[in-house]
């Protein structure tokens, strides 16, 4: 059996068994949070790690997914399933429109443009009060139902989000080991050479940007149905930067990086919530920002390819996975 498939199925088994072994609602709620972020980071990893394009605006798509589903399901009584899909379609459309001018930019300019996009969308959440409820927030988002089955408690929601995460990871993994994945990676490798073999760089940048927007949108929608209350602050620029930190911490060139980075982030922020008040009695949320800022800098200096790469280095494997290893080919080579 393929090693990469084996890892995927072991992961699935772990996810499946966890709630049967651990019965703490607190831990389940943490894992659900990790699930939302993993879904976002899965798309972002494809964009950043494989295609080499930065985005500092993905909280916007997370928010668009959340508000679209909230508005359609709570205000207009749509089935949440449909409103989640509607959110994904709207996010995809916006990503496409925004992507066309934005991906003409590179590096810092691209980062700034996407950051600006995030700020604009955040402002819309705040100002379009008739739809979003403005700073007062949006209340009463219904929970998701599948026939008579309602995803209302943590254990049920846990399975819902992780099934979605798992499917999106499979999707990404399939992309990576294909013509499309190589086209994406070639953009990071050398745009001049991608051009020279006939790869339409803009097209692939847009496709992966739209894909990452859809992932973020679905995650945001599911988040909205889970917490049932959202306000603009949940989707500010800081969240986009946290996404970036998660992707970099996990390692932008492995899809497992998405899950690992999200886990490390959520666990660390939970830990901070416990520890900080003990040390600084009057410290607020700013401490978290400083802490993760420092973490980002340290990661970039000492582990620029993230934890998964560091782990692979330790175990003597590569950073990038090949399509087929010689071993899997039965001696391949010549």
């Amino acid at each position: 059996m393929h090693e990469r498939r084996l890892g995927t199925w072991l992961f699935a088994l772990g996810i499946l068994l966890f709630p049967l072994i651990v019965h703490s609602n607190y831990l389940l709620s943490i894992l659900i949070m990790i699930g939302f972020y993993s879904l976002v980071c899965n798309g972002l990893t494809m964009l950043m790690g494989y295609a080499g394009q930065i985005s500092l605006g993905h909280a916007a798509f997370y928010g668009i997914g959340a508000y679209t589903t909230a508005y359609l399901s709570a205000t207009h009584g749509w089935s949440p399933w449909l409103s989640i899909i509607a959110g994904a379609i709207i996010s995809a459309f916006i990503a496409f429109i925004v992507g066309i001018p934005t991906f003409k930019l590179k590096g810092h300019y691209l980062a700034l443009a996407t950051l600006g996009f995030g700020v604009i969308v955040y402002t819309c959440f705040k100002e379009f009060t008739s739809i979003t409820g403005g700073m007062n927030g949006f209340f009463g988002i219904p929970s998701i139902k599948l026939f008579a089955w309602e995803f209302s408690n943590d254990a049920r929601f846990y399975y819902l989000i992780w099934i979605v995460v798992f499917l999106s990871l499979l999707f990404s993994q399939n992309i990576i080991h294909s013509r499309v994945g190589r086209a994406l990676r070639s953009i990071e490798g050398s745009e001049a050479a991608s051009d020279a073999v006939g790869i339409d760089i803009m097209r692939y940048k847009l496709q992966v940007f739209v894909y990452s927007a859809i992932c973020a949108s679905i995650a945001g929608s599911l988040y909205a149905h889970y917490v049932t209350f959202i306000n603009p602050q949940a989707f500010d620029a800081m969240l986009s930067i946290y996404f970036l930190i998660m992707v970099i911490t996990g390692g932008a060139s492995s899809i497992w990086g998405a899950v690992i980075g999200s886990s490390v982030f959520v666990l660390l922020s939970e830990l901070l919530k416990e520890v900080v008040p003990l040390v600084f009695s009057n410290a607020g949320g700013e401490f978290e920002i400083v802490f993760f800022g420092v973490l980002l800098v340290v990661m970039l200096i000492y582990m620029p390819n993230g934890l998964t790469a560091a782990w692979k280095k330790i175990t003597g494997k590569w950073r990038t996975s090949t399509t087929l290893s010689p071993a899997a080919k039965g001696g391949g080579g010549r």
Binding site: A193, A196, G198, T320
Partner: protein, 261 residues
């Protein structure tokens, strides 16, 4: 100087200015199907600039380029590549974030079909296409003699092998025309001989080559036709024998070459 054959590439009165510098100055020539054409000239003569114009990386200040009968001036590089023209680079442009064979498989991009959605859902055709392209890539690596390195990281290959890898990647696109920018630079004798063999073999299979090279021995040995640039101007054109007898060329280029080397 009349050559027989079907014209594949036409460079017509191409001029390129960078500010005050005229890097290419009113250069015209034809490349026939199945031909090996060398572009020679001293450093800074405008050879790479000419390649960049032909492949669409740079827009010419004036002039036109025609490939297989279509005007490709102003087309994007990837569009030109999709028409069947690939190239290698003077300063290597290997995909360092991939394995050797993945580099070559990426070269086959234009003849593959898998779309984003098909890839993500891994429909049965994807698996078949992947297998076929991997075999094809392996054959390309065999042709240039580095098949035993297929599963190494491209980044770890020595300079000479990275050059061969770029050629394998260019071949994998199954182009009609390949442009090689100083393919022998950095190769040892053994590798150079191998590369000459590869080029001659591929020409037999119907490929056309345009290459820039400083190694005059190779140029004289394998070219059917030579274009000489100096200071952006075409100062001569002809068969290797004709070029050897051309006084202007010898004075401007070959003479200088001898003093340089």
């Amino acid at each position: 100087m009349k050559r027989n054959g079907q014209v594949l590439l036409t460079v017509e009165r191409i001029t390129k200015q960078f500010g005050g510098v005229v890097a290419v100055n009113d250069v015209s020539f034809d490349v026939n199907k199945g031909e090996i054409l060398a572009v020679i000239g001293p450093n800074g003569a405008g050879k790479t600039t000419l390649f960049n114009i032909v492949t669409g990386i740079l827009a010419p200040s004036s002039g036109t380029v025609r490939f297989s009968g279509t005007d490709i001036t102003g087309k994007k590089p990837y569009q030109i590549a999709q028409l069947g023209m690939t190239r290698t680079f003077q300063n290597l442009e290997v995909f360092t974030n991939m394995s050797v064979i993945e580099n070559v498989m990426t070269g086959a991009h234009r003849n593959m079909k898998t779309s984003f959605l098909q890839a993500g859902l891994r429909v049965p055709s994807v698996k078949k296409e992947e297998k076929a392209v991997e075999e094809k890539a392996m054959r390309c690596l065999e042709k240039v003699g580095i098949a035993h390195l297929a599963y190494e990281r491209a980044e770890t290959l020595p300079y000479g092998n990275q050059r061969l890898l770029e050629i394998a990647r260019a071949i994998a696109a199954e182009p009609a025309l390949i442009l090689l920018d100083e393919p022998m630079a950095g190769l040892n004798d053994e590798e150079s001989r191998r590369l000459v063999e590869v080029i001659l073999q591929l020409r037999k299979e119907g490929l056309t080559f345009v290459f820039v090279e400083h190694d005059m021995e190779t140029v004289m040995a394998i070219s059917d036709h030579i274009v000489v640039l100096d200071n952006g101007v075409k100062i001569g054109e002809g068969t290797p024998e004709e070029i050897y007898r051309n006084k202007a060329v010898v004075a401007a280029y070959l003479g200088e070459e001898e003093t340089v080397c």
